[in-house]
């Protein structure tokens, strides 16, 4: 028996954004900051922001496609943010980086995408490109060798899990290489040289960590407007984000309350 293939053939699907109101924003904020695994949060955020991506579809998108969609969603909230900063993992010195989220390099999938044929020690086997579902599953297990886990998850076979245990290192390396050749890829990190210690430093680009608002900030604005104008929560959340933020800033100005810094609302 052959297990059904799950990864979508469209590596970087062009999904439409939902109109951004308070309800979407609050959902995204709550999804981005909750306690679940990162893949699970990404799945929910994508399904909330994109009209065409129900949670099941969001899971079926290839891992690179999901990161690409997430980076696109980040630009919806953060605009064309260019300058970022990171810390040297060697000396701890902070330094600035210029990153264009809308221009993050990506690699198109191979011709056989989303399936890669691999000849293993157990015989020829097919593996599909990792997707959101695979990531979510991977996040739930403890693995010494991620390749073996993905071999179990991505193997198009009813006995993929059992065979994964039996794969040799060569089998796993072949599977990794075959999947890399077939799967699309996108840059999700930046390799830089620390200006202070000149050590090489890898910095993750994770929009979930900075691009989306925090629920507390949104609720504070809802509270502010509700208290001031006497509106209900649903009424306030139905407002476009920019309008709600404008009202909130006016009220804060009248009350002499300091507005939160723009970057603060996207902190994790």
């Amino acid at each position: 028996m052959t297990r059904a293939r799950q990864t979508l053939r469209d590596a970087f699907p062009e999904a439409r954004f939902r109109p951004l109101d308070g309800l979407v924003e609050l959902g995204v904020a709550e999804a981005a900051s909750d306690a679940r695994s990162r893949p699970a949060r990404v799945t929910e955020v994508l399904s909330l922001i994109y009209e065409d991506l129900a949670p099941d579809n969001a899971r079926r998108v290839a891992s690179a496609g999901r990161e690409w969609l997430l980076q696109k969603a980040a630009t919806q909230f953060q605009g064309a943010q260019r300058w970022f900063e990171t810390t040297c993992t060697t000396c701890g010195t902070p330094f600035d980086l210029e990153v264009h989220l809308d221009q993050v390099p990506r690699a198109e999938p191979g011709p056989d995408f989303p399936v890669a044929d691999v000849v293993t020690s157990l015989g020829p086997r097919q593996f599909e490109a990792p997707n959101g579902g695979h990531e979510e599953a991977f996040a739930e297990v403890e693995a010494d060798d991620p390749r073996r886990v993905f071999a179990a998850l991505c193997g198009i076979s009813d006995v993929a899990e059992a065979e994964a245990i039996r794969f040799t290192d060569a089998d796993l390396a072949g599977i990794d290489a075959a999947l890399e050749a077939t799967s699309p890829e996108i840059a999700d990190g930046v390799d830089t040289i620390c200006p202070a210690c000149h050590a090489s430093t890898l910095t993750r680009i994770d929009p979930l960590g900075f691009a989306f608002p925090k629920p507390a900030a949104i609720l504070a604005e809802v509270h502010l407007l509700a208290q001031t104008y006497g509106w209900g929560e649903a009424e306030i959340l139905a407002l476009p984000i920019t309008r709600r933020q404008s009202y909130a800033s006016l009220i804060r100005r009248d009350r002499g309350v300091r507005a939160p810094r723009p970057g603060r609302r996207v902190l994790m």
Partner: protein
């Protein structure tokens, strides 16, 4: 790093993440502190907004206790003040009583003098009032006098004028009456007059003048008349100036035949006029006399 390792890394959180400029380089603890600070800001806002309600609730809850405590404190303070103030009050009362006593003593000493002064003052006042009243009375009298004098003078003058007018009118009336009576009496006299009726000696005295003293006897003044002087041959030996000739009548006076007629010059004659109206005579006897006197003067 292998492909699947990279995919695996995406599934797990990383401590070294890219962050927007200004926040990204801060360590996780600092970020957590910031988040905490933000939460505190929100909490502060909520706290500030909730404070009035809390205060009100606390106030409402605390009011009875406060009232009780306040009452107790007030009572305690009042008691303390009362206790502290008692000696002072006593002293003040003592001093006040002493002052009153002194005042009363001085009052009692000063009372006779005051009474005397008051009586003198009262007497002086009464005197002043009396003097004032007297002066006012005098002034009033003077003023009344001054006001009345012209009136009196006027009244007196008016009275005199009235009397004069009346007298003149009466005189005129009397003269008219006499003239009328005379005019009526002349024909009668001419026709009926007798010697005895014309003789005043023989006629009876009217009652009004019966008691009057007799006029002095007219003594004829005789003098010798020169022979060259012609004896009047007229039948009118007596001429009365002012009287009409007709009054005496054309009849000659009867003369005794044996009597040698002397020539007599009459210088004065008393005439007794008998007035016909007894009523007017009774009313004004003096007036009759005055009239007689006037007639006599005319002669």
């Amino acid at each position: 790093m292998s492909f699947l390792t990279r995919i695996a890394r995406r599934a797990t959180p990383s401590l070294n993440r890219l962050q927007p400029k200004g926040l990204g380089a801060q360590p996780a603890i600092a970020r957590m502190e910031e988040e905490e600070e933000e939460l505190q800001t929100v909490r502060r806002q909520e706290e500030e907004e909730a404070q009035p309600l809390r205060r009100q609730e606390e106030e409402e809850a605390a009011q009875p206790l406060r009232r009780q405590e306040g009452e107790e404190e007030l009572q305690t303070v009042r008691r303390q003040e009362e206790e502290e103030a008692q000696p002072l009050r006593r002293q003040e009362e003592e001093e006040a009583a002493q002052a009153l006593r002194r005042q009363e003593e001085e009052e009692s000493e000063a009372q006779p003098l005051r009474r005397q002064e008051e009586e003198e003052e009262a007497l002086q006042t009464v005197r002043r009032q009396e003097e004032e009243e007297e002066l006012q009375t005098l002034r009033r009298q003077g003023e009344e006098e001054a006001e009345a004098q012209p009136l009196r003078r006027q009244e007196e003058e008016e009275a005199l004028q009235t009397v004069r007018r009346k007298e003149e009118e009466e005189e005129l009336q009397t003269l008219r009456r006499q003239e009328e009576e005379e005019a009526e009496a002349q024909p009668l006299r001419r026709m009926e007059a007798a010697p005895e009726t014309l003789d005043p000696e023989s006629s009876a005295m009217p009652a009004e003048i019966a008691q009057d003293p007799e006029p002095p006897i007219a003594n004829p003044l005789r003098r010798d008349v020169a022979p060259s002087t012609p004896t009047p041959t007229t039948a009118h030996p007596i001429e009365m100036p002012g009287l009409d000739a007709g009054l005496m009548g054309p009849e000659p006076m009867p003369m005794p035949q044996s009597f040698e007629r002397p020539s007599v010059q009459i210088d004065q004659i008393d005439v007794m006029i008998h007035e016909a109206d007894p009523a007017s005579r009774t009313v004004q006897p003096d007036r009759s006399r005055a009239l007689r006197a006037r007639y006599l003067r005319r002669l």
